[in-house]
């Protein structure tokens, strides 16, 4: 196990989400939710890998039928929208643990669902859920760490000779 600071959790999760194809803004949301899950002591990394693996096949908000609902995109909509009120029932939300965490980051909705399920229905009511006592550090298995970093690495540009000399502004042994 590797111990991580919560900022490392946030940054790693956001980069992995972006590497897996989420937009920059949604990836930032995922980073924040990962920090929240890690602070709750939840196993954020395994469920994140499952989420990122399934993400391309999940449905956006408003899709009529078929695939389970993408928790990231649906939570983003609910966090943004101020017009939605009252109670909502959503069918077949993928990785409900992430749906719950993403909504908790803004604290506008309370969610009832099966947090351990791969896909579950979710009932939402307006109002903040109580913030759990936060852990200040997180841990991650080496295999999950490597897998998330591999997704994050899709964002990196390999160095060329040109970028090595130009990109950072010159390399030499210091003479002062």
């Amino acid at each position: 196990m590797i111990e991580l600071s919560l900022n490392e959790v946030d940054a790693l999760a956001a980069r992995a989400a972006r590497g897996a194809g989420f937009s920059w803004g949604l990836a930032d949301d995922v980073g924040r939710a990962a920090r929240l899950l890690a602070g709750e002591g939840a196993d954020w990394s395994a469920s994140l890998l499952a989420l990122l693996e399934r993400a391309p096949r999940l449905a956006p908000p408003g899709a009529r039928e078929g695939a389970p609902l993408c928790p990231v995109r649906m939570a983003a909509y609910l966090n943004d929208a101020s017009t939605e009120t009252g109670a909502l029932v959503l069918r077949d939300v993928a990785l409900p643990v992430w749906f719950d965490a993403l909504l908790k980051t803004e604290g506008l909705w309370r969610v009832e669902t099966d947090l351990l399920a791969a896909t579950a229905d979710a009932t939402l009511t307006r109002g903040a859920s109580a913030a759990p006592p936060g852990a200040r550090r997180a841990s991650i298995w080496r295999s999950a760490y490597d897998a998330l970093n591999a997704l994050a690495a899709r964002l990196y540009v390999p160095e060329s000779d040109r970028s090595r000399t130009r990109g950072a502004g010159g390399s030499r042994v210091d003479e002062d």
Binding site: E3, E8, D80, A81, R162
Partner: protein, 546 residues
Amino acid sequence: MTIAPRPPNVVMRLKRMGASHPTRLSFLRAQIRRVAGERWRFARARFELDDDGYGQAVYSLATPSRTYSLVAFSTRLDDSRRTDRVIADAWDTSFVLYDGLPDVAELTRLWANVPLQEAGRYTARELVLARANKSVRQFNAVIDALAKGDQPHREDLLRVGYLLRTTAVYGNGKFGVADRDEYAERPELSGPFQAEMLTVWLIRAFAFDLVEHIAARRNPAAARLDAGLRRALGVGNATGLGMAPYLVRHPVLVHNWYFARETALARVRSAPDAASDACEAFAAALAEFQARVALWRTQDPEQACAQDALVADLDLLSREAPRLLREAQPWDALYRFAEARCSLEGQEACVALLLEPHGALIDDLCETMSADERQGHRIDGGLTCGAMRALLGDVYGWANAIDFATPAANARFWYVSADKLEPRLGERFEEDGAELEQPLAVARDALALARVLADEDGRTPLAEFLARRPEWRHVARRAQTAARFPYAEIRDNLIAADMRPIDILRAKLAFFGARNFDPRSDRWLRITLFSGEPGIEEICASGRAA
């Protein structure tokens, strides 16, 4: 008459930001005032170095409520491996700022990790991780002189300006060190970069001890380093591109820094008169500034020209200040004179000098310079697409002058290198990798979102648009933040062919309190921190800030 703060369209331009000077609100100055005011106590808890200066040292700082320690490791480094680039893998000295006083078991753990820097792992007890290399030119020269009972050559030494030069200072959770959230509530570390500044100040004390120790081992009758030289020397720092995206990624923090400084300037300019002691303090600060500029060395032709202009500006200000300070709203008269007659370097130097005598009026603003970036996260999706478009026009109106269809305006792209995971700047039309561009082309993307929104029904809620088009989410979020925090954005094109990243770096470093800016290319520069400031051991002994 109350003078308003200078508007963001004036302040947040790269050329002006790149002419920034440190002020009394800068983070290291704030730290010095706190340490003096609270009478912290400094002790060399361990100093276990061999004749060549290799080994470990622990310096402790007792605040009214806690103890912090600098843990220093000094190791042998082959000259050929000494590089300032972040790609280095070995350094002369390495450090952590430790929360408490480490016991032997903790020191053993730190010995096994700290010299490795990024390749080691750290815990929440470590607040800051840093390393520094020796000045090849001056480190041994100083030891040689001291060992002979002499003082080093003043001019040569001050031309370099430091004995140790940090090449990275990491905090806020990097490599496992404590998140800022862990200590942000502690008053002594709540201001921006206070833990980092404390670390650098302690490294400066270690550098002096290190040369004196080695000299004394060579010759027990060796000289101590002259107090005037100690005062003049800082800690060197080489700052590269890696720091530039930070300012773009922390819009609320940037707003708070600039808003505090501009509020301070507005308060001073609004003062109805100038007390005689404030006029004297201003004259003294100006004379000190002139002396410092005379020692400021750079190899960069553009910076050298700017410094020539600065010298002339400071002469002009010193001649005209006595007359201007007799006018109504004298400090405003002085500022307006500088604005009309001086270069950007001179104008920003004038800002720093105007703030200097006015601690009682402005120092409280230091308490407003931190930020919780999370307050910029929530997107108001109830806003209509029409209103969002209007908001973009308001916030990014300055960007309309940029034509991103021209190659020169769209010339660069920011990316993260696979080798060192560090920010880099590429040439869009000459290099591969532009499809992996980082979202730092703020102006271009804001204008593009405005165009896309023009095709939407203006009454559509933004939340619905973003649910369909999540690729615009970060742009909408940023624009809404910038609308609430007017100094949040650098109001220039960050991907232009002629953009100089060192302007961004200098802006940030001036807020730290850095001096002696010396650009080594358009993308990295040398500075010193704490040059001209008292030593931490002096301040702790006397309890007075100079």
